[in-house]
Symmetry: C2
Subunit: 185 residues, 2 copies
């Protein structure tokens, strides 16, 4: 059965903390439950909505507001809009939350910068530490952690499956998605 309670599932966290991985893992789980889902990934959105913007605070904020605008359009029409941009600044995240009036679930993908630097799957931290990437969040650019996110997951202490379960539990308990696949069909 179709489930059309839309909301924004807003991941925030450092590069490599698991935002996109979890976004991709949760998508089929939500679809199984009858939800419509769109993932607005950071890179895809930069290509389609924000080409030309850089990584200054102003440009980052503009990018985040655009993602928020689109996510809200989708959410208010019954879609679960999953965003997976770093979104380092608390103020603009708060603006987006406000815009999404009650349909906003912030998931903080936490991970110690030491762990991220050691893992460094894409080699970005090494480059950033060497000064080869400017405005790199967590190294040469600030990251303002959420103070009251709806969900916290931690890829330093949880497996991706555990983080996924944490998010699904929250969404089920909040009544945003059916308790399990088919249970409310």
């Amino acid at each position: 059965m179709a489930h059309d309670k839309g909301f924004v599932l807003w991941f925030t966290g450092l590069s490599g903390a698991g935002k996109s991985t979890l976004a991709r893992m949760i998508e089929p789980e939500l679809r199984k439950r009858g939800c419509k889902v769109e993932i607005l990934d950071g890179d895809e959105v930069r290509t389609n909505l924000s080409k030309g913007l850089g990584f200054s605070k102003e440009d980052r904020d503009t990018n985040i507001r655009r993602i928020g605008y689109v996510a809200n359009l989708l959410a208010r029409n019954g879609v679960v809009a999953i965003t997976a941009a770093i979104s380092p600044y608390a103020e603009v995240r708060a603006q987006v939350r406000e815009m999404c009036s009650g349909r906003f679930v912030e998931v903080y993908a936490r991970c110690d910068i030491e762990v991220l630097t050691q893992r460094d799957v894409k080699g970005l931290y090494k480059k950033a530490l060497a000064g080869e990437i400017k405005n790199f969040t967590g190294i040469s650019d600030p990251y303002e952690a959420p103070e009251n996110p709806e969900v916290v997951v931690d890829s330093a202490t949880q497996t991706p499956e555990e983080s996924l379960r944490t998010i699904l539990d929250y969404l089920e308990n909040a009544g945003l998605i059916p308790a399990a696949a088919g249970a409310q069909a």
Copy 2:
């Protein structure tokens, strides 16, 4: 009953030709029929998605691609996404049509430039003719009329109500919306 066949209703035409007026008139008609509707008006989108872009061909095309990207996201999730930007260039309209793969209805809001210049509701044509507005479509910037739009309306020869009826007839005959309010509930 909810009707969730999404598609993009893409208005194109010169400033003052009736795009926004018809978009606003059709919205309640679609809602009466159970459709979800979002209007992506030219001005609103420029504020939310395209601040900083100007009116060069490149910037206009970028603006149109962004509107198309968002309209397609909505349409493929069951929303009727109505756009009302001038969208003067045929090539980028064709790109958006392609992106929306089969969910694209182009409505050409036609109106002779002479009529628009005489009416000049917002005083823009006078300014454009005086050279006070650069890149003004139809005066100092090109407008490439659609060759095969799904619908043509003409505000020089039709009342807004007649144009509205023309569009609704097309959508009903194409099976995109229920034939009349409640008839298929």
